[in-house]
Point group: D2
Chain length 348, copies 4
């Protein structure tokens, strides 16, 4: 099978770099061009910005000239991954989609649009159907970094009836991009505020866990209360989650629901899908960002599994800590998995 040619819009930031990293030697996709804002146009990718990841910048892309994100031509690629800032995405993504491009976007600009799915392939693969109703082209988004992990933890509980969710977060610095949080603000400190984050968690999780009916998504009806804080951690969003269920379960049933959870990406063996989307840790003091952020099989699925630990039952409430890698499962990795699903399901 010939690989599908793809490009990345907004290739210079932290999530853009993750896209570039994850697309290197991908079995389905061939990354052939990179685009960014005007001030980067024409420069070689290697010269443009600080490479922020733990692997080195792919050799074959170092000298690639970065294109202007306004001038992408369909003859070059029809599939675009987008890590654009929301304000720019708002101008650009819909325009391109209407021209026929297929866009897998990490940005929040169109997440709440009624024709755009917020897709997590293990959670709501059926929402992908929405793209059928576009005339040509489409936008598929992944959730914001905190929601991506959360909905993976909620999905196996859906069958027991979720009444409400209270989540408090311990979010990593990389979630704020680069340069992001000033060191003077966060060294030895916690900042209990991330702009618009709680609102995103609350509305996106209800859309993702909603039902597709008559070409529309009916939002899930449980209440979500999110409290988001930044901590001095490099990668990995930790979340303390309390879910009130309708059913009164044994804790073991919940544990089983988590550890045995498999979904469509696992069945389809998508390259970026971890064998176990949820890893249940029994050690008393896990998951920890420093130890568990990169859970998932080495290589393609690294950082794609969420880790869950410290399960406890209080009446009909289930409490656990959940950890997911915010720029992989919570951003570029999820978007890539979305594209893999779309390809396998014949939407590309």
């Amino acid at each position: 099978m010939a690989k599908t040619v793809v490009g990345v819009l907004g290739c210079t930031g932290l999530v853009g770099q993750r896209f570039v990293q994850l697309l290197a030697e991908h079995p389905y996709f061939e990354l052939e061009f990179l685009a960014a804002s005007e001030k980067s146009t024409g420069k070689s990718y290697g010269s443009l910005s600080k490479w922020l990841l733990d692997t080195t910048i792919p050799e074959n892309l170092k000298n690639l000239k970065v294109k202007n994100l306004e001038d992408v031509d369909k003859s070059e690629a029809e599939l675009l991954f987008s890590a654009l800032p929301a304000e720019i995405a708002k101008e650009v993504e819909l325009k391109y989609a209407k021209k026929g491009f297929k866009i897998f976007s990490n940005t929040s600009a169109f997440r709440m649009h009624s024709q755009v799915p917020i897709l997590v392939p293990e959670v709501n693969p059926e929402h992908l159907e929405l793209v059928k109703y576009w005339e040509k082209g489409f936008i598929v988004t992944n959730p914001n970094c905190t929601t991506a992990g959360l909905v993976l933890g909620l999905k196996p509980l859906m069958e027991f009836g979720i009444k409400n969710v209270v989540v408090s977060t311990y979010q990593a610095l990389s979630g704020a991009g680069y340069p992001g949080v000033a060191s003077l603000d966060i060294l030895g400190n916690v900042i209990p505020f991330i702009e618009e984050e709680e609102e995103k968690v609350e509305r996106e999780s209800k859309k993702i866990l909603g039902k597709l009916k008559n070409k529309k998504i009916l939002y899930a009806e449980f209440e979500v209360t999110a409290s988001c804080a930044r901590v001095p951690v490099r990668d990995g969003h930790l979340e303390s989650v309390v879910v009130e269920l309708e059913k009164d379960l044994e804790l073991d049933d919940v544990k089983k629901a988590f550890s045995q959870f498999r979904a469509l990406p696992q069945k389809l063996k998508l390259p970026t899908a971890p064998q176990k989307p949820i890893i249940v840790l029994n050690a008393a003091n896990r998951p920890q960002p420093a130890l568990d952020a990169y859970a998932g099989e080495p290589n393609r699925a690294r950082g794609m599994a969420v880790s869950i630990g410290r399960l406890k039952k209080i009446g009909r409430k289930i409490r656990f800590f959940l950890l997911s890698h915010n720029t992989i499962r919570g951003a570029a990795g999820c978007s890539l998995l979305n594209a893999e699903l779309a390809l396998k399901e014949g939407y590309l």
Copy 2:
């Protein structure tokens, strides 16, 4: 008025040092002896252990010989502050109390004892009455560091009917004592586990907010779900709190209830009592440990006020972040305020 002579049991650890610091030039109390375990007996306090606080060790205590905690004599002092480790406290405190000593203890050993109040003077001063029913001597405890802040935030909400509380914590390193947490474990990390802490928060808060009736404390009946995590912060426990109320309030009423809250210690003008026990912060990103841990008037009440911010209403739930200094309001400072109250109320 002559000052009451006092001693500190367990003077070498982090909380013991706070007692020593806070008792320096105290208007009611004169610290005249220090006691610790056998291995420290007979040595000068200044030589014994690493001084861990931001002020220097009081000059007049540097050369004080430390006594054996087994050999304290009532002729020296009847009032003892205790910062002993729980296992030692279990052996020692009750023995001394039965000999007639009046003990204000930070340790958990007797907190759940039916004759021992867990006292926070702004919250349950009436529980002090329990000490009347001892034959001679008594033990008064303060709550564990996380609970001390929490109950101050819950107290003003009691009149609106608390149905349940979900709290997630971001706890400082000093809460683990010294040497405490290994740097390799916590640098750039969060550890979502503190032994026995969640259990303490859950049971102590219900006792503190319970009612004294017929010489007994009837525990408060709401449900508390605590999730406790350690973060790389020096001082100040931050808590994300969601309280479900029976009444449907306006957010402004809650704000007022917090900011106008005054209690007995304020009325009695106890030396360690802050003028406002709760400080409501309006800035979007507060409270923060690095900025707000020492809230309260300079000198005696420094670190005794709790800070509350990010108030939000979701149906009948109220969400806020609360911060309190874990070794002052959450330990030695609270114990000292307890003793001040006891003195003013004639229990000493």
Copy 3:
């Protein structure tokens, strides 16, 4: 004595805020206006920027309208403290000095100017004479933050003949201003590079320790090799210093030279002068930024003393670690002490 009215140019940054903090209720100076760049003009100081220091912003300045730094009038104040960025200072300071303003500047723009002293009152008070040779007005600078501490440690050794100096630094985050260093860059890391810093240390220390002769400064002739690195510390620059001397001293002589060092500011009892400019610490593991950055008497001289420890002798080389507070002794505090000296010496 009536207080001298003063203003601060560049009042919004980290050093500007230190000036504001240190000038509050100053016995010689009355801070009456604040100036910043055009975009801040006309706004109240309290609304302008994030207050970054551990004390609260002075009440009386909160509502003061900030002036445009281009429009300062001599009728308002003749003495200006400057914390301007170097590029702006280059345009503004000399212009004002020529109009007759007396400028005490923290910026590097004119430090190497032949008529401008880099003044550290304990080290080279005689260099202040240079201001006599200006027609009207003048500029007095303090050294960059690393040099300010270093020259205080070198001064007592000058009489023994310094042959060369090798210094490696461990510099705090606040030295980079705000927002300064990105948290992603420095969390759990050291960055062995600070732009232009090594050059500044090398040339400024030789000017400061030089001799004034015939209205000119003859630079000291020893060699300085500086290696500057940033560490994840909030305040306090630590320096590892190796000085090769001409004389072969006993280590005790060096210790004495440090601990007995007193200079003109101590004799004049300048308000911001610490009683002991150099504090020799005997503990094996000091000085440490977290413990010693604020050395010096509480209030006015807090953070103005340098701490020296770990003295060692290797042949004719003396090795020690030196710590000084980079935004107090290394910036605003030194500049203020310069102005105090100038006032007492009749230059204002």
Copy 4:
């Protein structure tokens, strides 16, 4: 070629774990037993202690029963790697060596013994000859973690005549073992003291760079002045180095000497030898622990290369920053490379 069976003494600590990690699937050696102190005897390795490294504990060793370090029998293995604490090593290593065991030790106990080489295969492979003069068995040590990196940086300069060396260090937490440094001591701080470290650097580097003559090592004669400090970094010791040379070189010659440096391990293609022992970085702000600690080819040589940057010339002095991984090149990795050399050279 059959693999040589080996064991690890002191397998539970941080360096012991590195030995275990690096010996997994080694082409020359087969790790067949693990030994530790009495209290661990008979327990399975996986149950014994906290695994502190970034890879998981090798599956085949999880259930291996740990032996008592006092009861190792030569029939099991003649080659022992030792990561024992110095006090225990002092009792045990020489005893075993005299019984005929060949010991490659990371501990300091016998480093200064006249018959024991401190070996860094790229620097002084000829010193290995010393083991010939033992009756049976022998001890080969690697240097302490700071020295291991330093001597690699000094070796290429030896031909230009080293007059003296001034080194200041920025040492990682893992160098102190586990639990090691208390988080309360080092969070946001630098501690300018590591017990005995400076003495080790000074004496070990002169022994390593000394000449073997008539079965004895004549120490190098230049002067070394070390100043050692601990910083809040996980792995990777950074060193600021100033070397005074006899020759007046061009900076480019030094650069070339570093980047073209190859030695015996490279010629012999030892499995753990990096292709380039020294990597010269041209970026202005490198090397950095967070980015460069693991320099060296992936897999076996990961963390075995030292990185050098910020080369500068001041007269006859050369200044650079050097970084090496303290528990790989500075401990277990170096010891393993020593054993590989010994095997290839026929000493096993």
